[in-house]
């Protein structure tokens, strides 16, 4: 689960951008290897032009709501000339892993999130883009990769903020229009990934370390701790004691039920984003009308091969405004599916494309994830009490961690979701230990 923005909201000490000195590194406090020469090499390689020269360079930490928990973001602006002598501006984000505390590092380690994101940006996303171009679809889904450096665990991609992309308000949630825009991109990403996997004989199936996986249970304290916090809160509501008891009874089987969502089953499978929620979506709003014009999907640290349900249930149960969350998921899934199946068809996907009903049935087998997201993930992502909001507080079981998780359930919107959906999930058998 991405704890994007958790840290950022609190101790964000504003830093000023500094003039880039000619000497290394490109600004004070930047990673020491991040020098002008480093960027020069990267740009030369990207443009395939050894005569490229940098004429101006400016860099600063990229803070604020854009900060991704899983790394450090640096913003770089470079003016350069290529062989043809013409001057160009490039805006980039450099994402690097950071030295976190030992506990957090060890917890994250088996999920391998830094390497995964690099390999996806380097190898996979460009190929997905190429597939879309094959059918003359120029729609941009992700940020363009400029360079990937495994040695330094660094990713350089285009800075989308320059084109007006910002993060939507995570506390409000998306409306139908925005939801459709995201699902449209997601559908194309999923479809191209299914085709790519087919053409490359199963190459994407090695991505098997999503948030629940068969290699590690390291995030269990987070997931189980949240369910326990939910149960404690819900047990205080008259008439809801039965749901608290059911949540408690789920604890012993919870991780197994989560893993089953990520187990690869018969039916159509895709490269799921793995952490698709408002903070991993950038939106470009029209300057005049304020209407959303375009969206870009970012942050592929938890990508995994599996059911589209992984992304659909996660996104629809975490990122929408209340009414749409409760009443309009089916409609949105239908919208997604039209584009998903159409794209598969255009790309001449060889395996059988399921009917919508079959797709619907296959998704419903993974509905545990809808419950998981609505009950636990939602609470964290909408948390307004950010004093103790960090990776440590999510993963630990000490008092601070317990207090933090309890605090997640203070948000009235989160409570509204629980009050509404716990009975619904219950009648569908999704709160039963024996599902």
């Amino acid at each position: 689960m991405s704890v994007t923005d958790l840290i950022s909201a609190l101790d964000a000490i504003p830093k000023q951008s500094t003039v880039v000195p000619e000497s290394n590194p490109i600004f004070l406090d930047a990673p020491e290897w991040l020098t002008e020469n480093y960027l020069l090499d990267a740009l030369r390689k990207f443009y395939g032009d050894q005569k490229l020269k940098i004429t101006a360079l400016d860099g600063c930490p990229a803070l604020g709501r854009g900060e991704n928990y899983g790394g450090v973001l640096t913003r770089v602006k470079a003016e350069f000339t290529k062989q043809d002598g013409k001057s160009q501006m490039g805006h980039y984000i450099i994402k690097t892993s950071f030295e976190s505390d030992e506990f957090s590092r060890k917890a994250m380690e088996p999920y391998d999130i830094f390497n995964r994101e690099m390999s996806i940006y380097e190898q996979i996303l460009p190929k997905l883009k190429a597939l879309l171009l094959e059918i003359n679809d120029e729609e941009q889904i992700f940020a363009e990769t400029m360079a990937v450096d495994y040695d330094r665990s660094a990713l350089i991609f285009e800075d989308l903020s320059v084109r007006g992309f910002i993060m939507p308000d995570r506390l409000v949630g998306l409306d139908m229009k925005l939801a459709r825009m995201v699902l449209r991109k997601l559908a194309k990403m999923h479809a191209t990934s299914a085709v790519l996997n087919e053409r490359e004989c199963g190459a994407l199936e090695t991505y098997d370390r999503g948030m629940f996986n068969r290699h590690t249970d390291n995030y269990a304290p987070c997931f189980l701790g949240l369910i326990q916090a939910a149960s404690r809160r819900v047990s205080q509501w008259p008439g809801y004691e039965q749901y608290a008891a059911k949540l408690d009874a789920l604890i012993p089987v919870y991780m197994e039920l989560g893993k089953r969502v990520f187990d690869v089953c018969p039916g159509i499978n895709v490269l799921a984003h793995g952490d698709l929620w408002t903070n991993n979506v950038l939106v470009k709003y029209d300057k005049v009308t304020g209407e959303p014009e375009d969206v870009i999907i970012i942050d592929f640290q938890y990508a995994a091969w599996g059911s589209p349900a992984i992304d659909l249930f996660y996104f629809l149960n975490s990122s929408l405004q209340f009414d749409f969350h409760v009443h309009h998921q089916q409609e949105l899934i239908q919208y997604y599916f039209e584009i998903f199946s159409e794209t598969l068809r255009k790309l001449r996907y060889k395996s059988p494309i399921p009917s919508l009903h079959k797709f619907h049935l296959d998704l419903k087998k993974k509905s545990f994830y809808a419950m998981h997201t609505s009950i636990s993930v939602f609470a964290v992502q909408r948390n307004v009490e950010t004093a103790d909001a960090d990776f440590n507080a999510l993963m630990s079981t000490n008092q601070r961690a317990i207090n933090f998780k309890n605090g997640c359930y203070n948000n009235p919107i989160t409570q509204k979701v629980l009050r509404k959906l716990l009975p619904v999930f219950n009648t569908e058998g999704l709160l039963d230990a024996d599902q």
Binding site: Q330, H360, L361, T427
Partner: protein, 425 residues
């Protein structure tokens, strides 16, 4: 000795069978009461089926006064005699292809009594069906107790059931389903050989009815502002697929929970007795012409889509499934069932899988059941494709309540992909 009085409410009722005479009834009663010297003192025969109320069989009500051997006291019994539509070859042939009367005879003769016996041994015991008096294979007749005299009536199909009535019906259904699963376990093959439900792999004689209704549904959608051409096209495309798709729901799946379905579970096939000071509301299931081995989804979707008040159907479906499942599992366990018992989630998924049944029931069966224009309401109107029958279907589709149901549920079915082409599994 005994007199017969024939209540001839001529034109609006179907006539009683000719062979239903005093000697005949006396014979049956002697057998039932195990008294060879019993004598009938009076026999009153009254046709009981009005036009528009029942499309497939003829009911006759008999009241018999008799005296047991060695007694002076006159006793009275009330029976219903159920026979098939004998005089119309067209209808007879269609129903014969479904083995409708044979199925029902076997049910009342051999199966329902066994289901009741199984339940009687448990705490879940309760009466589910009318007692069988006699099954006459030669005349294709079933004689069972007349529940009307115990104040059982048919509910109002035009209004439908509220939550309380719906739950009671589901309780009865769940117990029947559980008992049947257990009976099949103990006598393998007895029930699984019943495979002539309304949709089956032997006869498509009802196809004209279902297909024509899809056409009417498509026309309705085209004219309906809330629906429109997208729906009309999809429904039209479904016309030639509706039989196959529903037959798939009826095919028992090896990895699912299967049982003996009622096969035609709606308001008119449930006798109900209103609550009074002294006793609770009660219901009994009747009419087993289309019972077949298969998924409970068949009965549940059919019942939900034809027999519930709209508000109940809109708001409580999940709770009702949970309730049904609870009774089913409780009864299965009480009967020491050793087969596959689905979890609530698995039952829910099984119902989703069979949900095309809901589409058919909503578009066809419910139209028939909500119809309040009974002038042309008979089997011919359902089955043929002439002007009279087309008119009947159009009139049925004009029903406001029916339209309200469709406008609410068709978009839901559409979102699940139920109106689209399916793949071959």
């Amino acid at each position: 000795m005994g007199e017969t009085r024939n209540g001839n409410d001529a034109d609006n009722f179907h006539p009683a069978p000719e062979w239903l005479t005093v000697p005949y009834v006396e014979n049956i009663l002697r057998r039932y009461k195990k008294d060879e010297d019993l004598n009938i003192t009076d026999l009153s025969i009254k046709p009981a089926t009005a036009k528009g109320e029942n499309y497939a069989s003829v009911m006759t009500r008999i009241k018999v006064d008799y005296v047991l051997s060695g007694s002076n006291v006159s006793e009275t019994k009330f029976f219903i005699v159920k026979t098939t539509y004998e005089n119309d070859a067209f209808i007879s042939n269609i129903f014969a292809s479904y083995q409708a009367s044979t199925t029902e005879m076997v049910m009342y003769d051999k199966i329902l009594p066994k289901l009741s016996a199984l339940l009687d041994d448990t705490e879940q015991s309760e009466k589910l069906f009318a007692n069988t008096i006699y099954v006459d294979y030669e005349h294709s007749a079933i004689i069972f107790e007349d529940l009307a005299v115990c104040q059982y009536t048919i509910g109002d199909r035009l209004i439908g059931y509220d939550l309380e009535f719906t739950k009671l019906a589901l309780r009865k259904l769940a117990k029947m389903h559980a008992a049947a699963a257990v009976l099949n376990e103990r006598q393998p093959g007895l029930l699984t050989k019943l495979d002539h439900g309304i949709f089956n792999r032997h006869s498509r004689a009802f196809a004209p009815m279902f297909e024509n209704f899809m056409g009417v549904a498509a026309n309705f959608a085209a004219e309906c502002p809330e629906l429109g051409n997208v729906y009309a096209d999809k429904l039209r495309r479904l016309k030639n697929l509706v039989m196959e798709y529903t037959e798939r729901v009826y095919d028992p799946q090896p990895d699912e929970f299967n049982t003996l379905t009622h096969g035609d579970l709606w308001v008119n096939n449930i006798m109900l007795r209103e609550k009074t000071e002294n006793r609770d509301l009660d219901m009994l299931l009747i009419d087993f012409q289309f019972s077949a081995w298969g998924s409970p989804a068949i009965d549940l979707h059919y019942f939900f889509c034809t027999s519930l008040q709209l508000e109940v159907r809109k708001k409580y479906l999940n709770e009702l499934i949970e309730y049904y499942h609870g009774v089913l599992v409780e009864t299965l366990r009480a009967l020491n069932f050793t087969g596959y018992i689905p979890t609530l989630r698995q039952m829910w998924l099984q119902l989703e899988k069979g949900k095309f049944m809901a589409v058919v029931a909503s578009l066809t069966c419910q139209a028939i059941m909500l119809n309040d224009q009974t002038a042309d309401a008979d089997f011919n109107a359902l089955m043929l494709d002439n002007e009279r029958s087309r008119n009947f279907k159009k009139v049925a589709y004009n029903n406001k309540k029916f339209q309200e149901n469709l406008k609410h549920f068709l978009p839901i079915y559409n979102q699940c992909g139920l109106l689209d082409l399916q793949e071959w599994d």
